[in-house]
Symmetry: C2
């Protein structure tokens, strides 16, 4: 394992989207499972962690989970992003927030977060990409690329071609999301995105360390 690195100051421009882990408490097996997943995964190449729950959970649960994950991630150069709940992000002093099209508008989120937190926004069409306010939003999550089982309200899959078309619209950091796994990750990385976001390709895997290592290797182009 080695000693934890000294944490450099994370900022709105210095984050790394290349292997973006979206944690789901149900898929990971609760708070303890999320902590052990993150611990295994950040040592093997995950560059960004988002806390998200498909199922509704109490704010106290988000808060407890968030405090633990933040304490763990503070030893690494890996930002913790909270999905949707800006109050939880502020409460635990997370590094950022990710909002969807049905969450608080990006300009409102930016106002609540202040100038220094990372703000991500989900986009699923060329129109939504065109609407992104670059002064507020630091990166976009484009998807779903493929059909996904971990997000019930997900829209129709874009495919790699649709992803490429949306990605080409704007000059902003981009991460692809939705059904990405070891088999299709290489093709996704060729579509003009800066990284891949995964849920079940890491969460709930029998060997999290190995799964993460293989994904990290693909992201770095080592398998081509």
């Amino acid at each position: 394992m080695g000693y934890p690195k000294i944490r450099r100051e994370l900022s709105r421009t210095s984050f790394d989207l290349s292997l973006y882990l979206v944690l789901d408490p149900e898929l990971c097996g609760g708070i303890a499972g999320m902590v052990s997943t993150v611990y295994e995964a950040v040592e093997r190449g995950v560059t960004c962690v988002q806390l998200r729950s498909e199922k509704e959970v109490d704010k106290r649960y988000w808060y407890d989970a968030g405090l633990l994950l933040k304490a763990l991630l503070e030893d690494y150069d890996v930002p913790l992003i909270v999905n949707d709940h800006i109050d939880v992000a502020l409460a635990i002093d997370a590094d950022g927030v990710h909002v969807g099209q049905k969450d608080l508008p990006a300009d409102v989120a930016r106002r609540l977060l202040g100038p220094n937190k990372i703000l991500g926004l989900s986009v699923g069409s060329i129109y939504e990409m065109e609407q992104v306010e670059l002064q507020d939003v630091d990166y976009v999550g484009i998807g779903p690329v493929f059909a996904t089982s971990t997000k019930k309200d997900a829209r129709k899959a874009l495919g790699v071609e649709g992803l490429s078309m949306i990605a080409a619209q704007r000059d902003i950091p981009k991460v692809a999301i939705g059904g990405i796994n070891i088999d299709n990750a290489a093709s996704v990385m060729k579509s003009g995105v800066d990284g891949i976001a995964v849920v079940s390709a890491i969460c709930g895997q029998a060997d999290i360390a190995s799964a993460t290592r293989r994904l990290a290797s693909i992201v770095r182009g080592e398998n081509e």
Copy 2:
């Protein structure tokens, strides 16, 4: 109707809990239904309005509903309290927030809200009442007094006697909640609380104006 009153500055000490309306979007018939309910009810004696949703709704829905309700209530001396979601409350500049025992802790909520917003906390036992941090919390909601259908995770009913015992513990503004209606409101008002919180006794009633007038009259002790 008359002209809207000039709004005095609402503060953490000047609010009136006597007839506290908890709005549920499903019970009221969506955003339009909530707006019309509030419009009818504030003219007939409702002194405080909380936006709450039993069913999970998107943050954008809370935000849109909250902005409309705030615009409406700004013409009255009636504060708008947002249940649970501090980010929504901050986004719409609501007058306050109400948190439950499973939401963000009261001290964290106070830190996020700043010193001037109203903060309410749900308590359901003498123990929880004893734990209330008076420097952070401005009022408590005690309940459920009676069995309620509008909150699925509600605990066992306290009865008026249980309510009285909890209310007697601490010197803080108190509102009773849970199954309160025109038939039992008078008995609840004798238990040492400052007011009653109602959901279905106003929301979804065929004649909201009449239901509110009758409840307001009971709260003022006019029916005794």
